[in-house]
């Protein structure tokens, strides 16, 4: 018995929308346009860091590296930069851990009134930052008698970053197919193993998104930080305080350096992860002795 007719995968002949190709190209263009839109001000910001004029802005009067030179000698500025980076890293790690843990409890039924709790966690995002900042200043200084420092800055930023992480992870966790976990339980996994090997990896993108948002919110956080910062400035507060006589392109230089450094770090991290993946795959496929 033979079937001379080659069998065709039904998916191949399924009617595809006539707009599929157009849609795909439109989306590609949109993505490119969006990236251009996002980087347009960045491009200007970088250009201004090379501008002769002491005031960042058009017109460009000349090219110079002077501001980079001054930036390196400006200890206040560098210290502010270092503080910002440190605080952002700590805030990202802490808020991701705290928010993810709390998301599990919120979604999996450890809380009596989950929707009220959800609204409660939306509140910090909803209250104007100035209000939160001032309330924390008064709280730290009068009520708790805690000196202002980078620790208080971190605490203040956690108030707004933890809700973000919590809500993102909870939203992802909400529709999580629990049958995967039950199957794992059936196969003998403890709840802890299940979470570690099944749930966390599958919600990893949401956790990563939360971490990224935390870093983004923290590194340029100004309003709350302004009220909770002590003797160690962060970069945004430093820039803001150039109020009386103006900002010089040194800050553009710092911003450019930060941007380049961040892109480099992520490029390295992506390559490192790619390598890691290749190694683990190779190790997995290697014949067991």
């Amino acid at each position: 018995m033979s079937t001379p007719v080659a069998s065709v995968d039904p998916l191949e002949t399924m009617p595809v929308s006539p707009y599929a190709g157009v849609t795909r190209w439109t989306l590609r263009l949109w993505f490119a346009a969006l990236v251009a839109f996002l980087y347009l001000p960045i491009a200007f910001m970088i250009i201004f860091s090379f501008d002769e004029g002491a005031t960042p802005g058009l017109p460009i009067t000349g090219f110079t590296l002077r501001w980079y030179d001054e930036m390196l000698g400006n200890r206040q500025l560098l210290r502010a930069l270092a503080n910002s980076v440190t605080v952002a890293a700590v805030v990202a790690v802490l808020s991701t851990i705290i928010g993810t843990m709390a998301a599990f409890v919120l979604v999996r039924g450890g809380i009596r009134y989950p929707s009220v709790t959800r609204i409660a966690f939306t509140l910090p995002i909803m209250v104007p930052g100035v209000l939160i900042g001032v309330s924390l200043l008064i709280f730290f200084a009068r009520a708790a008698d805690i000196p202002l420092s980078l620790a208080t800055v971190t605490a203040g930023q956690l108030v707004v970053t933890v809700p973000f992480v919590l809500l993102i992870v909870a939203s992802r966790l909400q529709g999580f197919d629990r049958r995967l976990e039950w199957a794992a339980a059936d196969l003998g996994a403890t709840p802890r193993q299940t979470i570690r090997h099944i749930v966390l990896p599958l919600i990893a993108p949401a956790i990563l998104a939360g971490a990224l948002i935390s870093v983004t919110l923290s590194i340029d956080e100004f309003v709350i930080t302004w009220f909770t910062v002590g003797n160690q400035p962060t970069l945004p507060t430093y820039i803001y305080t150039r109020v009386k006589f103006g900002v010089t392109p040194e800050v553009n230089a710092v911003a450019t350096v930060m941007l380049v450094a961040t892109l480099l770090i992520f490029a390295i991290a992506t390559v490192a992860l790619g390598r890691a993946r290749r190694w683990s795959r190779r190790a997995r496929l290697a014949p067991r002795a």
Binding site: L58, N231, R242, A276
Partner: protein, 372 residues
């Protein structure tokens, strides 16, 4: 293996290591920055909250090298915010800079600062004599701060676009200049400017009637204002680009606009009088390191340093000797442009900025006019 078909635990371990490596790298950069930022120096560190133009890094380093005194600076943006903060955290600071009326009325009244005998500081002899004797800074217990700089608010205009040459606050209300004015984003000061335009003297303690008059002027001002400047940079940029023909601000904007490649601008102090400030370094009560302050000031306030500060930041200062230094350096023209020697005369005509009884009402008024 889970549904996605790869071994996650090993992958995650490697991912985690890569990320840890990145984090360690960043930590290293941070540590390096901190090392640049000034490690522990024997001799002492004091905490100083001030504006960015009160010091120059090279001078700080020189003082560190010679006297081993390190200034740990935290930034001050505005008096009110600084005041609110200092009230909360006074133990953490040793020195704070402040503008005129804030010094006697607010800081001293709250018991936040310590008066001292200014003549104890040898370098104070380099100041103009009247600067050591400002009535509002003189208390029985001593002098409230070491004088530093000053400036009235002037109006600057684009000579080519604005004619006839103005001499009053009223020019800001002229409908000819609709959308051509940039003022600083300081609601209280804007209300004060209009108070001056109305001819009132004490614009920080206005009565309700006076505020009602000011309200009318604010309504006239609103359509003329293009935008509010967050920093002096904004106003200067607006002039340079030609967006604005009139701005308000501290001394020095002519140079800044010229430096940025902008048109020729002229500045003047309005004939009705103006508001302004003069600032000083104040000693905070209960600061932990106040013993370092006098040695620091003796060095930092020397005429050469003051002159260098003027060249860098561009506003007049109270040091008489520094004027001589500038003349010797060939900068007499520049110093005269900033009215260096006229400080006494100008300041006697200037209402000093500060908190007052009408502050809350002024802000309410501003919100009412400039809100939606």
């Amino acid at each position: 293996m889970n549904a996605h078909g790869y071994d996650l635990s090993r992958r995650r371990f490697l991912q985690a290591s890569a990320l840890a490596g990145v984090a360690v790298g960043m930590g290293g950069i941070t540590a390096a920055c901190n090392a640049i930022g000034g490690g522990a120096v024997q001799g002492g560190t004091f905490n100083w909250m001030t504006w960015g133009d009160h010091y120059i890094d090279e001078q700080l380093k020189a003082i560190e090298a010679s006297d081993k005194i390190v200034a740990n600076i935290s930034e001050l943006a505005g008096n009110a915010e600084g005041f609110a903060k200092v009230k909360e955290v006074k133990g953490q600071l040793d020195m704070i800079s402040g503008d005129a009326l804030w010094v006697p009325d607010a800081y001293f009244a709250e018991g936040l600062i310590v008066p001292f005998d200014i003549n104890e500081l040898k370098v104070s002899q380099q100041l103009y004599p009247f600067a050591r004797q400002f009535e509002i800074w003189t208390k029985p217990e001593g002098y409230l701060g070491y004088p530093f700089g000053w400036s009235p608010i002037s109006i600057y205009y684009n000579a080519a676009e604005v004619s006839p040459a103005p001499d009053s606050w009223q020019v800001l209300l002229d409908p000819k200049y609709k959308g051509r004015i940039v003022v600083e984003n300081q609601p209280e000061e804007i209300v004060a400017y209009m108070g001056k335009a109305a001819g009132f003297d004490d614009v920080y303690n206005m009565t309700d009637d006076q505020l009602a008059t000011v309200k009318g002027l604010l309504e006239q001002l609103k359509p003329n204002v293009l935008r509010f400047a967050q920093q002096a940079t904004d106003s200067v940029n607006a002039m340079i680009s030609g967006e604005a023909w009139l701005i308000t601000g501290n001394f020095g904007n002519e140079d800044r606009v010229k430096d940025g490649g902008g048109p020729e601008i002229k500045g003047y102090i309005p004939k009705e009088g103006t508001v302004g400030w003069m600032d000083a370094e104040m000693i905070v009560k209960d600061g932990a390191n106040t013993s370092l302050l006098f040695p620091y000031l003796e060095k930092a306030e020397q005429a050469e340093n003051i002159a260098a500060n003027f060249i860098k930041h561009g506003r007049p200062l109270f040091s008489e000797k520094a004027y001589q230094v500038l003349v010797d350096q060939g900068e007499k023209d520049r110093a005269d442009r900033y009215r260096w020697t006229e400080s006494e005369a100008i300041l006697s005509q200037t209402t000093l900025k500060g908190p007052g009884t009408s502050t809350a009402k002024s802000i309410q008024l501003f919100n009412e006019i400039f809100g939606a």
